[in-house]
């Protein structure tokens, strides 16, 4: 199989190899690779019309859809840098992202029309053109290049760029609440493609699930791998993900062969997916990652699908999902599932916590069972954080051999067998349904809200399923009344990604402090987690 030199060549080459093969499947309709190449080329021509040059950032503001797949490919084909946005986030949060990355053009579609228009509003809009929605009475402030106009354009051929050119930026909330942009290049993404193709023996006959939101790094596997392999990309829409019985029906109808999602969705499938009534015999490999999978739930799922292999995928977005642990059999007991060792593209090492901060020499690995920080050196690693050399300096170190290592901030230990196990974080980052959330960012944002003196964020586990974020707030001295939860929610939504908005704001009065006089956040977090009850559940 020929290797594409850049991401922009992937779809055109897939169309040359087998233009009639299925490319993107959605809602019972299928685009072939010839269709996909034509449509991505036309969208690329629309980007040219909007004035997009190589290196420009282009927002991608779309629901899970064939358009989202085509938009990402069209942007990288222009040598521009795609910035996938969360269409469910508040406009103020999204304009923070588009301003920080300098997006002048955003690709969108009709279902996101209103929120896309909001990106071009505000005090200092950087966005001047929307591609994918037609002009109308509501578009006076922004130029629109609509679907009809795009359909009439001659497709543009991919623009040549070098492999170390940035291709896309995944944004995640930093610890201060300011989003940081993880910038991947064509080379790092193509290394990721190589790794995935080899690790799962991916073939043209595969039908790969495209589940994760576009702004979540897990989504990049189906996006880049399917054209590289010539496999089909099966779009799984957001509504399906909320209704496990519909999700399992789609997996059966579309004969998905490769599944990749956070464990949460698989748990939902097992609990409420009506699996007795679904034929999922096409499923040959289940990949999960982004958070820890409760071993007993995984064992139950493996018993359900004896024909499928199961793999735990590990790697922060900065290095892509760079390593994998293939399970030989169901996990035993409550032992956490290993995260995997080195592969062709990746080296992983554990660094003794005692020597951290003593320069760049990581020294020998800690003994088995002793904790260390996980460092990764991989061809799949990002170029760096977008215009944040301070963050690069804090997390990227040159090893003794001169190669770049990424300090993940993840803690782990080795088993005597050499397997690496993830055990937690060196900081206060948590995972909720696979999304990275910095508790300090939520606290910083809430402490900026009017009437709030202090805020503490915590993860609560209501017992009936998924973890949620709850916040405790202390009113400012002299405030007439406690901060209003509705106002706090709106303030949080304006400054945080949708998945980081607390579901409850609980008033705090007694505030334990540590020996040094700081808020004892650990104790307060435990108290908040214990106090939280989902609404409407008090009586049960």
């Amino acid at each position: 199989m020929d290797d594409a030199p850049t991401l922009g060549e992937l779809v055109p080459r897939a169309a040359e190899r087998d233009g009639d093969a299925p490319a993107v499947c959605h809602g019972g309709t299928t685009l072939t690779w010839a269709d996909a190449a034509l449509q991505a080329g036309r969208l690329g021509a629309a980007l040219d019309l909007a004035g997009v040059a190589a290196g420009d950032r282009v927002g991608v503001h779309l629901r899970k859809s064939p358009e989202a797949f085509l938009a990402m490919h069209a942007v990288v084909q222009r040598g521009a840098i795609a910035v996938p946005l969360d269409p469910t986030a508040a406009p103020a949060y999204l304009t923070g992202v588009t301003e920080r990355t300098g997006c002048a053009v955003v690709v969108t579609h009709a279902p996101c029309r209103r929120s896309a228009l909001a990106l071009a509003g505000g005090d200092h809009p950087t966005v001047h053109t929307l591609v994918g929605v037609a002009p109308g009475d509501d578009t006076a402030a922004v130029r629109c290049i609509g679907p009809d106009e795009i359909a009439g354009l001659d497709p543009a051929a991919p623009r040549a760029v070098s492999a170390d050119h940035p291709a896309y930026i995944i944004t995640t909330s930093g610890s201060t609440g300011v989003p940081k942009g993880i910038t991947h290049t064509h080379a790092s993404a193509l290394a990721y493609v190589d790794f995935k193709r080899a690790a799962y023996d991916l073939r043209p006959s595969d039908r790969i699930s495209d589940i994760a939101p576009n702004h979540f790094d897990i989504s990049t596997m189906a996006l880049w791998v399917t054209p590289a392999v010539g496999a089909a990309n099966v779009v799984v829409t957001e509504p399906h993900q909320m209704l496990p019985a519909s999700l399992s029906q789609l997996a059966a109808d579309e004969r998905i062969s490769i599944w990749y999602s956070v464990p949460y969705l698989l748990t939902q499938l097992l609990d409420r997916g009506q699996l007795d009534d679904r034929d999922l015999s096409a499923l040959r490999w289940v990949l999960f990652g982004g958070e820890m999978f409760p071993p007993q739930v995984l064992a139950a799922l493996m018993a359900r699908w004896p024909g499928a292999r199961f793999s735990n995928v590990y790697g922060p977005a900065e290095v892509n999902a760079c390593t994998v642990h293939h399970l030989d059999g169901p996990p035993r007991g409550e032992e956490p599932i290993a995260v995997g060792g080195p592969v062709d593209t990746t080296e992983v090492r554990l660094v003794d916590l005692d020597i951290l901060g003593d320069g760049d020499d990581p020294g020998p690995e800690p003994e088995p069972g002793r904790p260390g920080e996980i460092w990764v050196c991989a061809r799949t690693m990002m170029a760096g954080y977008w215009e944040r050399p301070d963050l690069d300096a804090a997390s990227i170190v040159a090893g003794p051999d001169g190669r770049r290592w990424y300090r993940t901030g993840d803690l782990g230990h080795r088993r005597p067998t050499g397997e690496l196990v993830f055990t937690g974080r060196v900081d206060h980052q948590v995972k909720v349904r696979g999304h990275r959330i910095e508790l300090e960012a939520i606290e910083a944002v809430l402490e900026d809200a009017p009437g709030v003196a202090n805020a503490v964020a915590a993860v609560a586990r209501p017992g009936d399923g998924a973890d949620v974020i709850v916040a405790g707030v202390v009113a400012s001295a002299g405030a007439a009344e406690p901060p209003n939860p509705q106002a706090l929610r709106r303030h949080a939504a304006d400054h945080l990604p949708a998945y980081a908005i607390p579901v409850a704001f609980l008033p705090l009065t007694a505030l334990p402090t540590t020996g040094s006089g700081k808020l004892d956040r650990r104790t307060i977090r435990a108290e908040l987690a214990a106090r939280y009850r989902p609404e409407g559940k008090e009586s049960t």
Binding site: E238, M242, L243, R490, A493, V503
Partner: protein
């Protein structure tokens, strides 16, 4: 007591969506992101508590839960099938 349609609408709008959106009976709750998966679970519990029907997990599908209108149709069918009196 208000009818089921308006009570369900206020429950979804005020409690599940925290008053952050204006909903109509035919708003696509799932595609617009107004309701997430936890919201769906809360709605099914509310329907069971308020109408007495048992919601079979296999019925929690796009066909029955995409809009408030579809939920009401589903509840009506279940009340008939499960021998419960509609309001």
């Amino acid at each position: 007591m208000r009818d089921l349609a308006s009570r369900l609408l206020s429950f979804v709008q005020d409690d599940v969506c925290n008053g952050s959106v204006e909903l109509a009976l035919d708003t696509d709750l799932l595609l617009t992101g107004a309701v997430d998966s936890l919201g769906v679970i809360r709605i099914t519990q509310w329907l069971e508590d308020e109408t007495g029907i048992m919601v079979d997990p296999g019925h929690v599908t796009l066909e029955n839960f995409q809009t408030i209108e579809r939920m009401l149709t589903y509840v009506g069918k279940q009340q008939a099938e499960q021998g419960l009196a509609a309001e």
